[in-house]
Every structure is written in structure tokens, then in C-alpha cells.
């Protein structure tokens, strides 16, 4: 009976209204992304990033200098432990501190962006529960904000280049591409994780471990050649392998290694992001009831 009634009413709603009629109703399983709406709200990204950037270092003495201190400390620790004590071979004439830096900067971005993105919905619940806007912009802008830290971190690299009297490779023009690839993977994984976090806060506890394990599973402190050749394909299935190798290739000019790593990484990034979008859209409908 209900169905018959809505059948009878819908033609009127379907007639063109000068202002456009939106129908609020239970949606089906698959909710496509509404790109027109995203475009209409595009300004949000700017203000979310501005807001997050401004509040990131509030009440700190060093302020944005942390964006330099943190990678610097990591590089020192890695150089002492893995470069000197463990004596990891890098297969190049590049000193270990310089060699490890692109990976540290890349993974620094990945770690911050991934953990912030996974909790972004919960952290923004005060806004999400009060006003409608495309929620996609929450994890998206959260993944963009740490790029500021990353760019500041490049100063460390410049310092190391100067110290070792070396210059970056011309491949550096490809760096934004690899940063974009890192961002795509982060957004894809972040969409999955943030959707889960809305339902189960367990994710908040799990993500730090995930990030830590992922870093060791990525050739940040060791080169791919450190792994026996028969197992290297496993490493290439990790989408961040191509990111870190790409960072090294574009900044230091060292060989990229197997191009299949890039193919695998891009395919996984696209796959995770597309499925993540659907998972997110599905959660988006009832997010407010969960938060």
C-alpha cells in the first residue's frame, strides 16, 4: 500500500521545480559520489586545511619548527642505529643520512596523514552532527594538511645536500607525482578506516600499530635489495614501496628498481580509493546516528 501511494505521488515531485527538488529518502546500497555537490562546496577544503594547520601547533613553543625537528630526530636515530650500528648497505655512494631522508619525509607524511584521517570523522563530529555538507571533505582535507609539514621538512633535505656538497637530481620534477600517489593511498585507506572508526572506535587504538608495522614493511630504512630477490615481489605489493622508491629516485637520482612496483602501487591505490569511496558513502548516510 505504501508503495502504491508513493507511486501516485512521485509524478508531481518529478515535475521540474525552478529551484530543483531534492528527495530525502532511504538510499540504496550503492551511493555514487555526487561530484556537482563536491564542486559547490569546494571552498571547504581550503578552510578545513587552514583550520587544521592553525590549530596543529597551538600552545607549542617551537611551533611549526616541529615540522623540521621531528624528521631531523628520526634521521639521526635511523643513521645511528641502522646506518652505523646495523650497517645497512644502500648499494650507492650516498651517505646513509642523506639516503634515508626521502623515505623518512615520505613516511612522515604518510604516518601523520593516515592516523589523522582515520580519526577525522570522530574529531569533526561537532560539525558533522550539526550541518550537512559533503562529508568526503573531512578525510580529504585531513589528508592534505600534513603536506605543509612535509614541505617544511624538505628544508632538512636541503641542509643535508649542502652538508654533503651534493645536489638533488633533475628527477625532482616528478616528486609531486609520487606525493600525489602517497596521498591517494592515504585517502583510500583513510576512507576505509574512518568509516570503521565511526562505528567501532577500536580503530583509534589499532592505527598506531598499523602505521608502525607498515613503516617496517616499507623500504624506508633499508633498500629493496636488502630482501632476498625471491621475496621482493611481496614488498612491491605494498603501495608505499613505490612511493618511497619514487621519492629516492626523484630526489637522489638512485635507480627506481622494478617498474612493476609503480604499476602495482597505482592499481592498489585506485582500487582502495574507489572501494573506500563506496564504503564511505554508505557510512555517510547514517554517520550522524553513529557519532
Amino acid at each position: 500500500m505504501q508503495a502504491a501511494e508513493s507511486q501516485a505521488v512521485s509524478p508531481r515531485a518529478a515535475t521540474a521545480h525552478p529551484k530543483g527538488v531534492h528527495r530525502i529518502q532511504p538510499t540504496s546500497w550503492l551511493v555514487p559520489v555526487d561530484f556537482r555537490e563536491l564542486w559547490r562546496y569546494r571552498e571547504l577544503v581550503r578552510f578545513f586545511v587552514l583550520r587544521d594547520a592553525k590549530s596543529r601547533y597551538r600552545q607549542t613553543y617551537l611551533g611549526p619548527a616541529w615540522a623540521i625537528v621531528r624528521p631531523l630526530m628520526t634521521i639521526v636515530i635511523f643513521s645511528v642505529i641502522f646506518g652505523n650500528l646495523a650497517g645497512i648497505e644502500t648499494d650507492t655512494d650516498i651517505p646513509y643520512p642523506l639516503w634515508v631522508t626521502p623515505g623518512v619525509l615520505a613516511f612522515g607524511y604518510i604516518a601523520t596523514a593516515l592516523s589523522n584521517t582515520s580519526t577525522s570523522l570522530v574529531n569533526n563530529s561537532n560539525v558533522i552532527t550539526k550541518v550537512y555538507f559533503p562529508r568526503l571533505y573531512v578525510p580529504l582535507s585531513t589528508a592534505l594538511t600534513p603536506i605543509i609539514d612535509f614541505v617544511l621538512g624538505l628544508l632538512v633535505l636541503l641542509g643535508l645536500f649542502a652538508y654533503y656538497h651534493r645536489a638533488p637530481s633533475w628527477h625532482i620534477i616528478f616528486l609531486p607525482g609520487f606525493l600525489g600517489l602517497a596521498g591517494l593511498v592515504v585517502v583510500g585507506v583513510g576512507l576505509w578506516l574512518s568509516s570503521f572508526t565511526a562505528r567501532y572506535r577500536d580503530v583509534v587504538f589499532g592505527v598506531p600499530f598499523l602505521v608502525q608495522i607498515w613503516q617496517y614493511a616499507t623500504p624506508v630504512i633499508y633498500p629493496v635489495s636488502f630482501i632476498p630477490p625471491s621475496y621482493q615481489w611481496l614488498l612491491y605489493l605494498n603501495p608505499f614501496t613505490a612511493v618511497v622508491n619514487g621519492f629516492r629516485w626523484s630526489l637522489l637520482g638512485v635507480p627506481f628498481g622494478s617498474p612493476w612496483a609503480l604499476v602495482a602501487s597505482v592499481s592498489i591505490a585506485v582500487g582502495v580509493t574507489v572501494t573506500g569511496l563506496f564504503v564511505f558513502r554508505r557510512t555517510e548516510r547514517i554517520m550522524v546516528d553513529l557519532l
Binding site: Q2, Q25, E43, K54, R285
Partner: protein
């Protein structure tokens, strides 16, 4: 043909009761073969139309589903059943200053808040001067809002909202914030909006504001539409339904004012209903941390059309109060209630050392039934107006009776 702005058909929203179970709890429950937590229909089969340009008030007690309906129409969550067609752009104000961030400047927050509410950058650029003038924070516009007083914060937030130009404006009790003068300004601004021909849906406990702003009202009760029509008739039915609950719990009322040094918890009228001319005892229960101070507590009485009638204030009656407990009550006694039979609402307010501590408007309903006000053994005749006042009549003939007068003339 008047266009329909909002058209809801059989809208329903079901919530799962209780919190998310942990895996352990779920295992234990399954082991004991119990069924899962139940469901609650917050809204059921809501069907209504709002013609374009109408200002519709949505009233109802706490938990009647008003907020859920608002959330559905504001697209914050999805209905479980039914649908609603909404024509044009919807602006929903469920809060003042949504998304305001303490680290951003006033100007940046105006842009962030405006964008969240669906304004384009150009629209905000165009209206920035008006918004700033309305808020009155010109001099602090480029300071982070964490330096703002709470009053400035609210004014700036409302200023953005007030300059939103949606086709349909949905407003939840946001007017219940700020000082009285600012509330008046907001009410005025909302009046302009409705006069401009825009559709407004307004949810509020403030029956005075509702009847001033909205000619039409809808009364929700237990998740269903109980009445829809001219505001006065709907308010009347609402008051009739909530009449004289012995004790009204006001703990959950969020549309209150004051700094919260004390908070009213319950308002009760002894005996449930009071006779005209009978003794009326109103108790206001509170909890708080105020300790000592100069306390002014008042109970204001409003008529059926939410017009203010009178107030009882301890300062006026000379009953000074200087000490408060962590919990306690104030009781006001009106020895001979001068109100005609009918329904009245009570607003309660407490001021400590000259600053408002708590203020709940229309906290409870006072039901007055017929009574022997004059002690004549008879009920007063049908009232003219809200009051029955003590009075006496005297007749003093100045000249001789008319009969004699006519005789002397002859």
C-alpha cells in the same frame, strides 16, 4: 497554485536502542540466547506539506521527535521509511556558529561557517560588511575567536546564519542563546525572513517566539503528527496535553540561559491543578554549586497566547534568600490565585549576585480550574480576560430615587 516547499510522506526513523556492544558483550548475550537490543521509532508515518512562504512551527515535548524530524529535513541522517521532497536550497541552523574554530580569526570563521551552511565564496564576500555590522564585532574581526567573549562569539555566529538566503530555513532553538536584547534582534531578523516570502521551519520550546513568528504550527507527540493548523489552536492542544503533570522534569531542556551556577531540575505545582482563588504552591527544584549570594528567584506566568501576565519575585515579596544547597528547592505560595480557569505556562529564572544563573522559559504548565474565588459559595461567572481580581462594589445614590424625582417635577 501555491508551490509546495516541503512535502513529507510517511517519514519514519528507527533507532537502535542502547550503545554499540563490544565483542565480549555480544558473545555473552548470544551464549545466554537473548535477543539484541530493541529498536525505537523516533518518528512514525509523518506526512505533511508546507506551502512555499509559510512559517511553520514544530512544537512538542522532549522526545516527541522534533529534533529527529529536523535532522531528516536537514539531511543530517536518512529516514528509515518514507520520503520528503524539498524544493530549493535548505539552510539548517541547528547551532550558532557551527564549525567555529578558536584558532581562526573572526573573518576566517565567517567564511568557514558560511561555506558549511552552503554559501558560496562570492556570496560571503558580498555580505561580509552586513554580517560584520550585524554582529557588532568589527574591531575584533581579525583576532582569533578564542579571544572573543561568549556573547561576541554567539553574535558573530548568528550574524552569518541571519544572512543566509536559503529557500527553506530550518531553525532549531538557536534563538534561545544570548541576552534578551540579542534574542529580540534575532526574532526581528527571523520575522524579516518570513516576510520575505521564504519558508521557515522553526522548532522551539519558546511558545512566545513560536506564536509571534509562525502563523502555522505542527504538534508532534510520540513521533507522530498530533495536530497541524493555526498556531493558537495547536498551542492550545499542546498545552492541554502537557497539562498539570505533577512534576515537570526540566533537566533535559537545552534552551536555557544563565551561567549554570544552579540549574533547575524540576518544577512542580502542588496538587497538579489549582482552583481559581485557591492556594497555589509552586516548587522549583535545583542543583548547583552556588553556595551563598544574593538570590533573586522568580516565577513568571504566561497566558494561553503566551502573553506575560505577572511574576512572583522573592525580592518583591521581601523574602530574602542568601544561601543555597548543592540541591534544594524554592517554593512560591500564592494564597489566592487570581487566574481564571485555563492553561498557563510558567517560566522560571534565578539570578545570583545580579547575574542570571538559570532561566528556563515555559518550564511547566499551570492548570487552573473553576473555584470559589470570592468566597461567596458560588463560582465566578465566565471570565473576561485571564484574571479574577478581588473587588467590592458600593452604590451611593446622590439624589432621591427616580420615582420621587418624577413626582416633584409635576
Amino acid at each position: 497554485m501555491a508551490d509546495i516547499a516541503v512535502s513529507a510522506h510517511g517519514l519514519g526513523k528507527r533507532y537502535r536502542l542502547g550503545r554499540v556492544e563490544s565483542g565480549f558483550q555480544q558473545l555473552r548475550r548470544r551464549a545466554r540466547r537473548r535477543t539484541g537490543p530493541g529498536y525505537l521509532w523516533a518518528l512514525r508515518d509523518i506526512t505533511f506539506d508546507v506551502p512555499e512562504g509559510e512559517a511553520l512551527a514544530i512544537i512538542g515535548s522532549n522526545g516527541a521527535g522534533k529534533s529527529t524530524l529536523l535532522k531528516l529535513l536537514a539531511r543530517l541522517t536518512e529516514p528509515t521509511t518514507g520520503y520528503a521532497d524539498v524544493a530549493g536550497r535548505v539552510g539548517a541552523l541547528l547551532e550558532v556558529g557551527t564549525g567555529f574554530s578558536p584558532e581562526l580569526t573572526g573573518r576566517e570563521n565567517v567564511y568557514l561557517n558560511g561555506t558549511l551552511l552552503g554559501m558560496s565564496r562570492r556570496e560571503i564576500d558580498r555580505r561580509l560588511d552586513e554580517i560584520v555590522a550585524f554582529s557588532g564585532v568589527e574591531q575584533h574581526l581579525d583576532k582569533p575567536v578564542k579571544w572573543y567573549s561568549s556573547g561576541m562569539y554567539v553574535r558573530l555566529g548568528f550574524a552569518v546564519a541571519a544572512h543566509l538566503e536559503p529557500d527553506i530555513l530550518i531553525v532549531d532553538e538557536v534563538l534561545a542563546v544570548g541576552d534578551l536584547a540579542f534574542q529580540q534582534k534575532c526574532l526581528g531578523r527571523m520575522g524579516e525572513v518570513t516576510e520575505g516570502g521564504r519558508t521557515v521551519l522553526f522548532v522551539s520550546h519558546n511558545l512566545a517566539a513560536v506564536s509571534a513568528l509562525c502563523p502555522q504550527a505542527m504538534y508532534l507527540r510520540d513521533g507522530q503528527v498530533s495536530a497541524r493548523g493555526p498556531t493558537r489552536a495547536v498551542i492550545d492542544q499542546y498545552l492541554h496535553d502537557v497539562k498539570a503533570t505533577a512534576r515537570v522534569d526540566v533537566r533535559d531542556r537545552i534552551d536555557r540561559d544563565g551561567d549554570g551556577r544552579i540549574r533547575f531540575t524540576e518544577v512542580s505545582v502542588a496538587g497538579g491543578k489549582v482552583k481559581t482563588g485557591g492556594e497555589c504552591e509552586i516548587s522549583l527544584f535545583y542543583e548547583g554549586t552556588a553556595g551563598a549570594g544574593r538570590v533573586r528567584v522568580a516565577c513568571a506566568v504566561y497566558g494561553a497566547f503566551v502573553e506575560p501576565l505577572f511574576q512572583c519575585l522573592n525580592d518583591d515579596s521581601g523574602d530574602l534568600i542568601g544561601e543555597l544547597g548543592a540541591e534544594g528547592s524554592f517554593t512560591c505560595t500564592i494564597p489566592r490565585l487570581p487566574l481564571a480557569p485555563g492553561h498557563y505556562t510558567l517560566s522560571v529564572i534565578c539570578e545570583i549576585d545580579g547575574k542570571v544563573a538559570d532561566w528556563v522559559s515555559h518550564a511547566a504548565v499551570l492548570e487552573v480550574v473553576e473555584g470559589d474565588f470570592f468566597g461567596t459559595g458560588r463560582l465566578p461567572s465566565l471570565a473576561h480576560g485571564a484574571f479574577v481580581v478581588d473587588h467590592a462594589w458600593r452604590s451611593e445614590p446622590v439624589t432621591a430615587p427616580a420615582a420621587r424625582l418624577s413626582r416633584s417635577a409635576s
